[in-house]
């Protein structure tokens, strides 16, 4: 069933009684060519591209809860490709290009909104660091503009320019950056993948990995029985280590909690996405009017999907410092997601050291924007056993070789990335 305004109008005439489920709520079959563990955005996108690009449709996604219930539905919905290092930039730009055609590809309005991502700087050194990054983006053919203080002021006159602790000196703008409606992305991928024959199996928790006597992956054990699989891909950010442990692997990853916040609905205020690095604060505004904002991770290992008050205060301090007109706006909801913090702040899309097992992990707090390309590249790896050209740097062995992709230069301290 193709979505369109005409189709919607036709359904309106029948009282919307003839809509059918967006995706089939499948039960597990005995086996599949590919089983993807994790029904988040990355897993769903992987399944869609496996089917769409590689023609592999005998695919199951097994999700322990409801699809999109992890980080895919617990983020601040920002999309951007403003990275500085050559290992990252082509990949995130590929993701951005996929975002730009996503709704037509999925026939689902994910409300991709390219209203710009602005990173503020407060010193000459920060400005030069952003120039380094902006220039790297331009060398990759990506849009980037370095704004001075007056240009920033013209974009966001409500910010504190006159009595700030860290005065705004300018910023790096990626005009094509923006936001997308996270839940819709998940549902759009699920609907499109399901339509191509992918089985989406909810409430199905993987309890073990099945291997043959050579140690190669043969399937997964679940609370709904064993499922055979030619290949097993894991896309369970937040829980990657727990799953990898089932295969006897230790990963260069720690699980940390990242909180995010939304305010009550307000008439449009924030032009795009604004990030205030000096205050650990970033903000955008949803189409519904809520200010969506966040800051640093809480900083300690956690699987609890909730954070603590110091970070709430820290984030709000940053918000007030940046835009003192939000003092009387009210925080409405907060939530916490468990993120895979990797040792260099960059992801892993690679073969696991176990034959037949494939890793998609280590997204830190940046997984949402990567959803389309992560799915595309993971599908490519699963289908062809070779890394996609934009994801060649996301190797698991880079920590051993030293080919790190450390944008922040923080080293092997996951909570500092």
């Amino acid at each position: 069933m193709r979505f369109s305004i005409f189709n919607l109008a036709a359904h309106a005439l029948t009282g919307h009684r003839r809509w059918t489920p967006s995706w089939r709520d499948a039960s597990p079959k005995a086996g599949y060519d590919v089983v993807i563990i994790g029904g988040g955005g990355h897993g769903l996108a992987t399944a869609f591209y496996l089917a769409k690009v590689h023609g592999i449709t005998n695919v199951a996604i097994v999700e322990k809860g409801w699809i999109g219930g992890g980080n895919a539905g617990r983020n601040t919905t920002i999309i951007r490709s403003n990275y500085g290092l050559p290992g990252n930039e082509p990949f995130y730009e590929w993701s951005m290009k996929l975002w730009e055609g996503l709704e037509q590809a999925l026939n689902y309005n994910a409300m991709v909104s390219q209203r710009g991502v602005l990173n503020l700087c407060h010193s000459d050194a920060q400005r030069d660091a952003y120039a380094r990054r902006g220039n790297a983006m331009r060398l990759h053919g990506v849009d980037a503009e370095l704004l001075d203080r007056n240009q920033v002021r013209a974009m966001a006159p409500f910010m504190n320019f006159d009595n700030a602790r860290f005065p705004i000196q300018g910023g790096l703008l990626q005009p094509r950056g923006g936001t997308a409606r996270h839940d819709a992305v998940n549902w759009g991928y699920a609907r499109a993948a399901s339509a191509l024959g992918v089985d989406i199996i909810q409430n199905c928790e993987v309890t073990g990995l099945l291997t043959d006597n050579q140690g190669a992956m043969t399937g997964v054990e679940t609370n709904r029985g064993p499922i055979r699989a030619g290949k097993v891909g894991m896309a369970v950010a937040g829980n990657s280590s727990r799953l990898a442990a089932m295969a006897g692997l230790r990963l260069p990853i720690e699980s940390h909690v990242l909180q995010a916040f939304v305010s009550e609905g307000l008439k449009p205020v924030i032009p795009g996405v604004i990030t205030f690095g000096a205050g650990h604060f970033y903000i955008s505004q949803s189409d519904k009017g809520g200010l969506v904002f966040g800051g640093d991770i809480d900083g300690y290992n956690s699987y609890a999907q909730r954070g603590n008050l110091p970070v709430v205060q820290d984030v709000c301090e940053g918000g007030m410092a940046l835009m003192p007109m939000i003092g009387r706006a009210r925080l409405l909801r907060s939530w916490g997601g468990i993120v895979d913090m990797s040792m260099d702040g960059s992801p892993i899309i690679d073969h696991a050291p176990v034959p037949g097992l494939y890793l998609n992990a280590g997204w830190c707090y940046g997984g949402f924007k990567a959803t389309p390309a992560s799915g595309w590249c993971f599908a490519h790896l699963l289908a062809t056993d070779t890394a996609h050209e934009t994801a060649t740097a996301f190797r698991l062995d880079r920590f051993a070789t030293g080919d790190l992709i450390d944008e922040k230069g923080q080293g092997a301290h996951p909570n500092l990335h």
């Binding site: 280590s241 442990a245 230790r250 300690y300 956690s302 699987y303 609890a304 040792m343 092997a412």
Partner: protein
């Protein structure tokens, strides 16, 4: 989260700096250094971890904490 510092008493976690799993021991053997620096058990459950009481007694302490519930059992000096 409140951390029972063995010197200062129980304090809010923001006074501390987190380092992570206290289990890895800096190896004498060069060949074991990669594991020490990069690999983590990342346990979902009770974990012994290093915290530094930066805004208190400046001691590194080992906190025994459940990463699923944030429940803290106890803390002791690291040395």
């Amino acid at each position: 989260m409140r951390i029972p510092c063995p010197h200062c008493g129980t304090r809010e976690s923001q006074e501390f700096v987190y380092r992570g799993d206290a289990a890895p021991v800096r190896p004498a053997d060069d060949g074991a250094m990669f594991d020490y620096v990069y690999l983590r058990d990342n346990v979902a459950g009770v974990m012994r971890e290093h915290w530094y009481h930066a805004q208190g007694c400046r001691q590194w302490i080992v906190v025994t904490r459940d990463t699923r519930s944030h429940a803290i059992d106890h803390a002791e000096f690291a040395r």
